[in-house]
């Protein structure tokens, strides 16, 4: 068996700290390399994108559209996460309700985004609430399914303990159920942000007059890949910020109690 020396451990930790930056740099380098090799307008170099990015910010266009999209994202994400968790937990714990709604879930899970979006717009008009509703309908079943799996895997021992000690519903939820669902919630959040972003683009494409989807569609018509990438970067940066400021700390908190 080997000896672990603390010095080595410290060195590794220092390297680990710079890994994220390093990986970004390598990503940029690969991009630059491929772009200069291809030399095609379908893959502009990072510089070109950076310039476009800067101009879009200065012109106020990017902040405006990004803001519109983010607002929709926040609203529809909150609604679908809250509702999805509630329904997912209920379905995971109640066999009869689950048997009843399982079919509906499969249906809503697999109705194409296009269809729900079109129907929402057709029935409720080309208004903001219809757009949000369309996103929620698309995202909700995903959350439900993930949380339902998590609820099924809940530890019976701990649930019994809570019952025996007469924990109230909210107490059980907060202290027993949610911490166990944490990895499922994180998964649903991360892939959920991404999914909503994909759907919101279609929603905006089909019936909104602002937002990233609307803008991207214009760029797409012109085949302006540099602008598309610039807008993408803006969005990724925002998500990355959410990662750093909200999700990573949550991760850390969840790891706090682990060995």
């Amino acid at each position: 068996m080997e000896t672990m020396c603390y010095f080595k451990a410290k060195l590794i930790m220092t390297i680990n700290k710079y890994l994220p930056t390093l990986s970004l740099l390598i990503f940029l380098a690969v991009w630059q390399g491929v772009a200069s090799y291809l030399h095609s307008n379908t893959l502009p170099t990072p510089q070109v994108v950076a310039i476009v990015f800067w101009q879009a910010i200065v012109s106020g266009q990017l902040p405006y559209h990004l803001g519109a999209t983010l607002l929709r994202l926040v609203v529809s994400f909150s609604i679908s996460m809250l509702l999805g968790c509630a329904i997912g937990i209920v379905l995971g714990r109640n066999k009869a309700l689950n048997a009843f709604f399982d079919n509906w879930l499969v249906i809503f899970l697999n109705v194409p985004a296009l269809v729900t979006i079109i129907l929402c717009y057709v029935w409720f008009g080309l208004v903001e609430s219809a757009a949000i509703l369309a996103v929620v309908i698309n995202k909700l079943p995903n959350v439900i399914v993930t949380i339902r799996e998590g609820t099924r895997a809940l530890d019976t021992d701990l649930m019994d303990m809570a019952r025996c000690y007469h924990f109230s519903k909210t107490k059980t939820l907060r202290h027993v159920i949610l911490p166990q669902l944490q990895p499922f919630l994180m998964g649903a959040t991360r892939s959920g942000l991404a999914l909503i972003w994909k759907i919101i683009l279609v929603v905006e494409l089909l019936g909104r007059s602002n937002g990233m989807g609307y803008q991207l569609h214009l760029f797409f018509q012109m085949f302006d890949v540099a602008s598309i990438l610039a807008y993408t970067i803006a969005f990724v940066a925002v998500i990355q910020l959410i990662e750093l400021l909200i999700l990573k700390p949550l991760d850390k908190q969840a790891l706090r109690w682990r060995r």
Binding site: N41, V122, G125, L126, S209, H217, L218, F220, M222, D224
Partner: protein, 296 residues
């Protein structure tokens, strides 16, 4: 050895009609049809080299050329969108749009919308401010109009014709807008787009293809039996709609394509560049040389 022309065709579009009216045999080319779902899919197909030719607009060609690509354009049709309102609507001219709810197919950078604003501006109306706008996909815009959620719709000619056939009224069409802006020439809106290098190496076949294309159009517009054959391709059941679609399609024929028209196109380009604040056209100040194919 015949030249194979691979062409990206939108399902239910007029190119499909025309191709099916082509003579079955031709001397030096054969056609390979590649169905695509949307205009964007066509552009992707062309750029990725999956097809040799699609139908698209010349502004896009110019902006590609500005980026160093060598695509070029040959006119196909001058049909453009139209502004339609319900039959009993109080709207009879652009002035009546004031304060009304207008549905616009495409988006802010839709050519018709830009030009319509310019036209209204000439009459002292600032449409962008004075109407309530809703942008959306054309089928949704038609539906909005039918549900009375918008008072008027500025939409693509296909959708406008279908609305007209069920009683909606056309206020002005794309050609009318251009005339109002002082451009009398019949400038094509759509055309075949292809690589210049490819066309030069198959110039005879390409020229014959265009000839066949215009013959096919002529036969569709004059010969009822030829038209009967393509009726199923319109995917429309009502006879009235079919007739109107045919009428609009035939009105869009490009008879003249010379320097005059090309200069008019350049004027439109400048107009659109200012109107869209370069967003539609890209950086280039003028229409790129070579945007329009000349077989010389």
């Amino acid at each position: 050895e015949k030249t194979t022309i691979r062409i990206g065709v939108q399902a239910a579009g007029t190119v499909e009609w025309e191709l099916s009216a082509f003579p079955t045999e031709s001397a030096d080319f054969q056609i390979e049809v590649h169905p695509v779902a949307t205009a964007e899919a066509g552009k992707i197909a062309l750029q990725s080299g999956a097809v040799d030719m699609i139908v698209s607009d010349w502004i896009w060609v110019s902006s590609l050329r500005a980026q160093g690509e060598d695509f070029t354009f040959y006119p196909y049709s001058s049909t453009a969108g139209a502004l339609v309102v319900p039959e009993k609507s109080m709207i009879h001219s652009l002035k009546d749009l004031n304060g009304k709810h207008l549905g616009i197919a495409g988006g802010e950078l839709d050519k018709n919308w830009l030009l319509l604003q310019a036209l209204a501006q000439k009459e002292g109306i600032y449409l962008n401010k004075s109407v309530e706008k809703t942008f959306g996909a054309p089928p949704l815009i038609s539906e909005q109009l039918k549900q009375n959620r918008v008072d008027a719709a500025l939409t693509y000619w296909h959708f406008a014709a279908k609305l007209e056939a069920v009683g909606y009224r056309q206020i002005i069409d794309g050609r009318g807008i251009l005339k109002g802006l002082g451009i009398e020439e019949n400038v094509p809106s759509l055309g075949y787009v292809f690589k210049q290098s490819w066309a030069s190496s198959h110039s005879a076949a390409v020229a014959n293809f265009f000839k066949a294309s215009s013959l096919a159009k002529k036969s569709l517009c004059t010969d009822d039996t030829a038209w009967q054959k393509v009726i199923s391709l319109t995917k429309v059941d009502e006879a009235a709609t079919q007739t109107l679609l045919r009428k609009r399609y035939c009105e869009g024929g490009v008879e003249q394509w010379g320097d005059k028209e090309q200069q008019a196109a350049a004027r439109i380009y400048t107009l659109l560049k200012t109107l869209s604040n370069s967003q539609l056209t890209g950086k280039s100040d003028t229409l790129q040389a070579g945007t329009f194919w000349s077989n010389k």
